[in-house]
Amino acid sequence: MGDVTCELCPRYCTIPEGGAGDCRVRVNIDGKLVATTYGRPSSVHIDPVEKKPLYHFHPGSAVFSIATAGCNLHCRNCQNWQLSQRGGEEMERIYRAEPADVVDAALAENCHSIAYTYSDPIIFYEYVYDTSVLAHDHGLKNIFVTAGYINEKPMRRLCQVIDATNIDLKAFDDGFYRRNCSGSLKPVLDAMVIAREEGVWLEVTNLVIPTLNDDIATVRRMAHWIRDNLGEQTPLHISRFTPHYQMRNLPPTPVESLHRVWNEARDAGLKYVYIGNIYGHKSESTYCPNDNTRLIHRVGFSVEEYNLTSDGRCPVCNQKVSGVW
């Protein structure tokens, strides 16, 4: 009696009155499911789009980034756990920012897009959706940075209002998701395919954690799956793990491991493979897949040199480079 079931993500939490979903911010109050952090972000920053990371979506542009408390995954290595693993009632800093306020602020600060990021924006879905609609009305783009643990129907609906997404594929191993994230792999793969089908610009991130998901055979399967299901033009960001939260027992990923994963992904046929979290690495830059001309030179999150033509082609061989330029 009075229970409600949240159908937003694959957890399908059935929540009794006074309880919250697994994400902590979708709560059953008087028999109604409510989003408690709608219009109440706890983190608001302006970041370069490269930080999301998105390397093929308006490079060098500024992104108004917001997040509320809560998350529907519980990764042991979460870097943002102070935000994601808490409920709204546990937050000290909560801003009042209705969708119109966010859009106004993004415009006032000359941002190109609004990013829903840091925690998993799936859990403040309604806030994302309403803000995105308003952002489009004012000529802003929407970026959804997520782990992709969401059901098909809400994902398809959201794709109507977002322009780009970075989906964090934590490992190509269901056991990893169950052991380290309290989630599962299949819904994440489905979300990526949906984003591709719905025409949302998609980039994939894979954080390489020593001994947990750096097995080269698994990496190969992941790269082949991306190539076959999302396309060889899909940018893949191989990111370096650093110890955080409940996973401080492991060392940072050795650079050699990242190189092995990079090589494997390139051998599988992926055209744009990047190495992240290593400042100044050569593989932060974009190269022409045809003649290897350096098209976008990046150092950290900063674009130092931009050589693409206005329609996104290599200036030397005229090769088209996938992306939103």
Partner: protein, 65 residues
């Protein structure tokens, strides 16, 4: 049994009872990562009443129908 042993046994028993009580009080209801969570409801309502949090309808799929 010496008086000292009885005291020690009583101490152990009290500890075991306390542990059992703690475990029993956590049976049922929320379990981590499998559905729903208990939250600090009074704190939540306080934040809602002060406007720091809200009660925004989250049943978007019903709104659609």
């Amino acid at each position: 049994m010496k008086r000292r042993d009885i005291k020690f046994a009583a101490l152990v028993a009290v500890n075991l009872l306390a542990i059992a009580g703690f475990l029993l009080s956590h049976i049922g209801g929320e379990s981590a990562y499998t559905g729903w969570r208990k939250i600090d409801y009074p704190a939540l309502m306080q934040k809602i009443n002060s406007g720091d949090l809200v009660r925004h309808n989250a049943e978007y799929w019903r709104k659609q129908q």
